[in-house]
């Protein structure tokens, strides 16, 4: 266990050493911090509105201005960050569980099943995420759960499709054969011998899924099948202001900027994480292990 903590520290340090990794870690750290803080404190209550101060410009009392009902934009963005955090994390968890289950089935079963599953996955991938969300929202109503289910389903399929070649490569390798000769069970072989060798692909794909889930949240909320009205989220902030973009462009800039910066951070996070966790590309991991 001690070794694992040390490995984690080396990985974090290697990421920090690169500018892109530092950006990703700082933005994601801020995201976590703001989400936590927003639970107990925001500059204004979300329900505090001021009919005489709508579409207010940034000022000392409202740092990012006010929206169409005179609510504080910063407070809504802060509160929205926790909704988006939950959506991103759950999407990654669902996509990883679903995707890895599919990959495990693909590499463990016979070749006929494996090739058939590619066709099925390809067919399912062609269903747009939006359509899945729209269908789900009919019985369940618009909610964050619908976004997570739709994104988890779609990104899980994507993950399976992208992970399959590297998982197959590992599954047919001599080191997996060696592990089987040593008496390792199929489940053990998958999780400790095949999966770790797909980590570069897995880490990039999952962090991209987290980023894409934010974009999906914004899109689906705009279509009315995302988070329910009154629930703070970045997509919600965008939706309420985007109709007035030609009159009050600044109101759209703030949520748009937050989403953009965080999505970039998530993509860079995956990128630098991939380089940092692979002993082949990260010499620090070898020296200190």
């Amino acid at each position: 266990m001690n070794g694992r903590i040390r490995t984690l520290r080396i990985v974090a340090r290697s990421m920090w050493r690169r500018a892109s990794g530092r950006y990703a870690l700082v933005v994601m750290g801020l995201w976590l911090l703001v989400s936590a803080v927003s639970l107990v404190w925001t500059p204004y209550s979300l329900l505090a509105t001021d009919g005489f101060d709508t579409w207010g410009s940034p000022s000392s009392s409202h740092l990012l201005g006010t929206d169409g009902v005179g609510a504080d934009v910063l407070s809504w963005l802060m509160a929205g960050s926790r909704t988006n955090l939950v959506i991103a994390v759950l999407t990654v968890v669902v996509a990883a569980a679903f995707g890895l289950l599919l990959v495990a089935a693909m590499v463990s079963c016979n070749s006929a099943f494996s090739s058939a599953s590619v066709v099925v996955v390809d067919a399912l991938i062609s269903i747009p995420t939006v359509l899945v969300a729209l269908i789900l929202s009919v019985p369940f109503g618009a909610s964050a759960a619908v976004i997570v289910a739709a994104c988890g389903f779609a990104y899980g399929l994507n993950l399976a499709r992208i992970l399959r070649p590297s998982a197959l490569l590992a599954a047919r390798s001599a080191y997996v054969e060696s592990a089987i000769w040593s008496g390792a069970s199929p489940i053990r072989v998958f999780f400790t011998h095949i999966m770790p060798n797909t980590l570069p692909v897995l880490s990039v794909q999952l962090s991209m899924s987290a980023g894409t889930s934010l974009l999906a949240e914004a899109g689906l909320t705009y279509l009315g099948v995302g988070v329910g009205s009154g629930v703070p989220s970045w997509g919600h902030s965008l939706t309420t202001s985007v109709r007035f973009i030609s009159i009050y462009p600044l109101a759209v800039v703030w949520p748009g900027l937050v989403v953009t910066l965080v999505v970039i951070a998530l993509n860079l996070f995956g990128d630098t994480l991939r380089d940092a966790i692979d002993p082949l590309t990260n010499p620090a991991l070898r020296e200190a292990a």
Binding site: N110, Y175, V176, E177, G183, A184, P279, A289
Partner: protein
């Protein structure tokens, strides 16, 4: 551990890979299985561990230490794999997991078959590495940081760490240079003899076979064409296949001797 193979037949997709093979390995004996590529050597080794592909059809009998392996369930022969039978692979660079350290690699069979604390495991892994001539400082290293010879030493340590009763070595020296080949073969034989284990040594190289085994079987197109003491087969091969392999070994060892002087 002794192994007795009778009338072994293996076919995949209607094509016979191995036909009517009889083999015996006595306790503590080092036996060779020699044949050119594609003669079915590795298939016999896989059949002995019940690890043939699902599409393979197996007939005949394989007894390992008095237990029938053919048609046995995975659970029945689970302790054969890695516990009573150790396997040394052909290409050590490929047979070691690129993201596992030497310590994890060698410790895996111990972890799977013994109930040890991690300190006890590390101690036994360290002792095993010392036996194959590696220092403790390779423990945290990854396979790509080791030389080919070191990698195969790790492979041997992995196979022998559980003190198995039978070692199956599938072309363990093919991927190594001739000087390293000799060292690895000598290491393997001395460790096997020291442990009182048996060994099945699979190769296509008579020069290596002569050093590693006392008795051998010559395999051609999935059938045994000749068997006997390795020295006898090497000095007076009876069949065409054996003669060709001996001829090839002479040329190779001649070439090796020349390079020794360089």
């Amino acid at each position: 551990m002794s192994a007795t193979i009778r009338d072994l037949n293996i076919s995949i997709g209607g094509r016979t890979i191995v036909g009517d093979v009889d083999m015996d390995i006595a306790d503590g004996e080092r036996v060779g299985l020699i044949g050119s590529s594609g003669s079915g050597k590795s298939m016999i080794a896989k059949a002995m561990m019940g690890l043939l592909p699902a599409t393979a059809r197996v007939g005949g009998s394989i007894e390992m230490g008095g237990r029938q392996v053919v048609d046995a369930s995975d659970i029945d022969i689970a302790d054969l794999r890695g516990r009573y039978v150790g396997m040394v692979f052909q290409n050590p660079a490929a047979a070691l997991n690129p993201v596992m350290t030497v310590a994890q690699q060698v410790g895996l069979p111990l972890y799977l078959h013994y109930d040890l604390t991690s300190a006890e495991r590390t101690e036994r892994v360290g002792a095993m590495l010392a036996k194959v001539g590696l220092d403790e400082d390779v423990l945290p290293k990854y396979p790509h940081e080791l030389s080919g010879g070191q990698q195969q030493r790790v492979g041997i340590a992995t196979a022998l760490v559980t003190s198995p009763h039978l070692i199956i070595a599938d072309e363990p020296t093919t991927a190594l240079d001739s000087i390293t080949q000799r060292r690895i073969v000598d290491l393997l034989t001395s460790l096997v003899d020291g442990a009182g284990a048996s060994m099945l040594f699979i190769t296509h190289d008579f020069a290596v076979l002569h050093r590693a085994t006392t008795r051998c079987y010559v395999l051609e197109h999935g059938g045994i064409v000749e068997s006997g003491a390795t020295a006898d087969v090497l000095s007076s091969p009876q069949t065409g296949q054996a003669r060709r392999l001996v001829e090839a070994a002479r040329k190779l060892s001649l070439a090796a001797k020349e390079t020794d002087h360089v």
